[in-house]
């Protein structure tokens, strides 16, 4: 039995109206304005999408990267409940909250990109749904996972509103929800990579491989830990709380372990397929490949010693670099390494970027509001008297 004494989660408190929340509000309004045009005048009115690049950043950033960034909840829950590392328990709720937002928004973001969105329910409807399609698997798993995460997070809401019966009932099913909450993201995070297999030779050999599901899954788990480091440092700075170094330092080691597995898999696959040679050609693809690889490799150097892993600034930078590397892997595989023939090009338009920025603004705003009002972050009992209770 492991019995760790944790501070119970408690609302941070404080004002909701401040520079950060107002900025987020303005960015969200800008995104809504762009979306109003998109839904009345079509995708072409606001995006640079074309038939050579039918998928842009609304798919790659908002959904593929957005959901990978939202793997914190899954990665930490797996560590705590599957690997029985109970000491990380205080990280579960904040990570789950960020995941909940990330995934819910990724699900909503899909609607913006769907050209015939009113039919979206077809994807889960017998008679329409096609199990041969990788996208069907992604859609089914993500939909179910969003539901499961809301249930996993519901104790925080039930506690806030004093609904003891509901809290108890969800608690009884929690072990099953946690099981589902680890298997479902494994399924769709790997499938987000499998999406590209059917693109065949249109995807550059540096990214087209039958190992895509494993590469995307392992990188998503690694990103999950990176996001927790990144968020914990940011939340500590933003709320002037103590950084949970006693948790983050060992978590960084777990992250480096996953990262090493990822790099061995990534390069092993390139070598086995004989594709590593493409990395040494003078192409945009090889340049981007090395940029991606540098971002993945940097944390191994930045955090190589125990002393370095106790340095919050290093944890923050390493986490951010890993998130960047994971983003580059996805942008490279879906866009930079995608070649559908001569004459086509794509770079996101400003309105397109405004929507993506607006989506991330919703996440930040939601995180601030919920952590200030709901019991998510651990109570700071032993902190300075100034800390809000």
């Amino acid at each position: 039995m492991s019995a760790h004494v944790h501070a119970r989660p408690a609302p941070v408190g404080g004002r909701l109206l401040n520079l950060a929340t107002v900025t987020c509000g303005v960015l969200i309004l800008a995104a809504l304005a762009v979306l109003a045009i998109r839904f009345t005048a079509g995708l072409g009115a606001v995006t640079n999408l074309n038939d050579g690049y039918p998928w842009g950043i609304w798919v790659v950033a908002d959904v593929v990267i957005g959901s990978a960034f939202a793997c914190g909840g899954f990665s930490v829950a797996m560590l705590v409940y599957i690997f029985n590392k109970g000491e990380y328990h205080p990280l579960v709720r904040p990570a789950l909250l960020a995941s909940l937002f990330g995934y819910t928004l990724a699900g909503v973001g899909v609607i913006f990109d769907l050209g015939r969105y009113w039919n979206f329910w077809h994807i889960l409807w017998p008679g329409y749904a096609s199990p041969n399609s990788v996208m069907f698997e992604v859609a089914a798993c993500i939909s179910l996972y969003i539901l499961v995460m809301w249930l996993e997070f519901s104790p925080a809401l039930f506690e806030k509103f004093g609904m003891k019966n509901a809290r108890r009932r969800v608690g009884k099913a929690m072990f099953f929800l946690i099981g589902l909450g680890t298997v479902l993201p494994m399924m769709h995070q790997s499938s987000l990579g499998s999406l590209l297999v059917v693109f065949g030779t249109q995807i550059h050999p540096l990214w087209q491989t039958m190992a895509l599901p494993a590469i995307f899954l392992i990188s998503a788990i690694t990103i999950g830990y990176a996001v927790v480091l990144f968020e914990s440092c940011l939340a500590a700075a933003g709320y002037r709380r103590k950084i949970e170094m006693h948790l983050l330092t060992p978590l960084a080691r777990v992250m480096l372990g996953m990262l090493s597995i990822f790099l061995v898999l990534r390069f092993g696959d390139l070598i086995v397929r004989g594709a590593l040679g493409y990395a040494f050609e003078a192409t945009l693809q090889s340049l981007m490949f090395w940029l991606e690889t540098a971002c993945f490799a940097a944390p191994l150097v930045l955090l190589r010693s125990a002393a370095q892993r106790r340095n919050p600034a290093r944890l923050f930078v390493a986490g951010a670099l890993l998130m960047l590397g994971g983003s580059l892997l996805r942008v490279n595989a879906f866009l930079v390494g995608y070649d559908t023939g001569a004459g086509w090009s794509y770079f996101p338009s400003v309105p397109e970027m405004l929507v993506t920025i607006g989506m991330f603004a919703i996440e930040v705003l939601g995180y601030i509001v919920i952590t200030r009002r709901f019991p998510v972050l651990p109570r700071e009992d032993h902190a300075a008297p100034a800390a809000a209770h």
Binding site: M1, A3, H4, V5, H6, R8, G42, L43, G44, A45, T47, N50, D51, P54, W55, V80, Y81, I82, F83, N84, K85, G86, L114, G115, R116, N119, H122, I123, Y128, A129, S130, N132, S133, V134, F136, E159, K164, R168, G171, K172, M174, F176, I178, G179, L180, T182, V183, M186, M187, S194, V197, V198, F199, G200, T201, Q202, A211, P213, L217, G341
Partner: protein, 328 residues
């Protein structure tokens, strides 16, 4: 307390499970799909095409498609330069050097039809999550149903020939592509492009017949006089004509590419110069579906994983939730 050994043991078990998921025996492996014996298609012979574009106009009329202005505004007339959501068929011209000799690789010119190839094992159908893209089990025609479509454009991205196109200018945009005039079949009519082709460069028929005709032409000596059928090869509804055989590239494009297509192409200019890249014989959809069904066939692996994860979670949950003081 959990020990490091516990942690490692579970990490190894998890790793093994993940490895099993990704590299387990391809129980659900499938090869390329086979072609229906009744499959319908087209044979396009670039050496017979004179670039009149009667097929482009006929396609517009038969499919009730609007004008598509994609040429520069100063051009003397409007003509689409590529297929779009509103243009399902175009004739593209290849020019090299002085462009004076038809079907010559250097200083030559040639025409190539661009429209759906109706793959035997189509990527778009495999990609489509809502069965909006379907392959007819008898005719093999790849059809599209806008009422089922969610507009995700996975088909647009997946097609190795860049054929399905989306209408980005409409808030309710649809995918557009050649459906081999399947709406004309009940009236006893066939593809409008083949019906109007004056030289038989675009020929309609059963794919088996078209393949035999293509092989017959490849076997001819360049310059040899032969008869070229027109319209519908399988019914012989239009008179044939006599002409000289060209110096064909000895390859039927579409015989093996991505598992074969129901549109076959012949040319005297190398195909890659006409925008037809070499493609592997194995269909991309068979690779993708083999991967998916190996991982998810019968939901066996996910259920095993779920069982294991639930077991661990149930065992470990009490230890961590109890200290929150709440009744779990």
């Amino acid at each position: 307390m959990t020990t490091r050994r516990d942690f490692l043991r579970r990490a190894v078990a998890g790793g093994a499970a993940a490895a099993t998921c990704t590299v387990s025996a391809p129980a659900a492996a499938r090869g390329n799909a086979g072609r229906s014996p009744e499959a319908l298609g087209l044979l396009f012979d670039s050496t017979l095409c004179i670039g009149c574009k009667a097929c482009v106009t006929a396609c517009k009329a038969a499919n009730d498609l609007p004008l598509d202005v994609s040429t520069r505004p100063e051009s003397p007339w409007d003509t689409p330069v590529d297929t779009t959501a509103k243009t399902f068929n175009v004739i593209k011209v290849y020019r090299e050097g002085a462009a004076t000799h038809k079907d010559a690789g250097t200083d030559g010119f040639a025409f190539m039809k661009s429209s759906c190839l109706h793959c035997v094992d189509p990527s778009c159908v495999s990609a489509c999550p809502v069965s909006a893209m379907t392959k007819d089990p008898v005719t093999g025609i790849v059809g599209y149903d806008p009422n089922a479509c969610i507009g995700c454009r996975y088909c647009v991205a997946a097609c190795p020939f860049g054929i399905p196109k989306y209408d980005y200018q409409s808030p309710t945009g649809e995918i557009g592509k050649c459906e081999l005039c399947r709406h004309r079949l009940p009236d006893g009519k066939y593809s409008a492009c083949a019906e109007v082709c004056p030289t038989g460069a675009t020929l309609y028929g059963k794919v088996d017949d078209l393949m035999a005709e293509a092989k017959r032409r490849l076997a001819l000596t360049p310059g040899e006089i032969t008869r070229f059928p027109r319209g519908n090869l399988s019914t012989g509804d239009q008179p044939s004509w006599e002409g000289a055989a060209a110096a064909y590239v000895q390859h039927v494009y579409g015989e093996t590419e991505v598992g074969g297509t129901q549109m076959l192409k012949l040319s005297a200019v190398p195909f890659d110069k006409l925008g037809h890249k070499p493609l592997p014989d194995r269909s991309f959809s068979s690779k993708s579906e083999t991967l998916q069904h190996t991982l998810y066939g019968g939901l066996a692996l996910p259920l095993v994983a779920l069982g294991a994860m639930t077991w661990f979670a149930r065992r470990n949950i009490g230890a961590h939730e109890g200290d929150e003081g709440g009744e779990e």
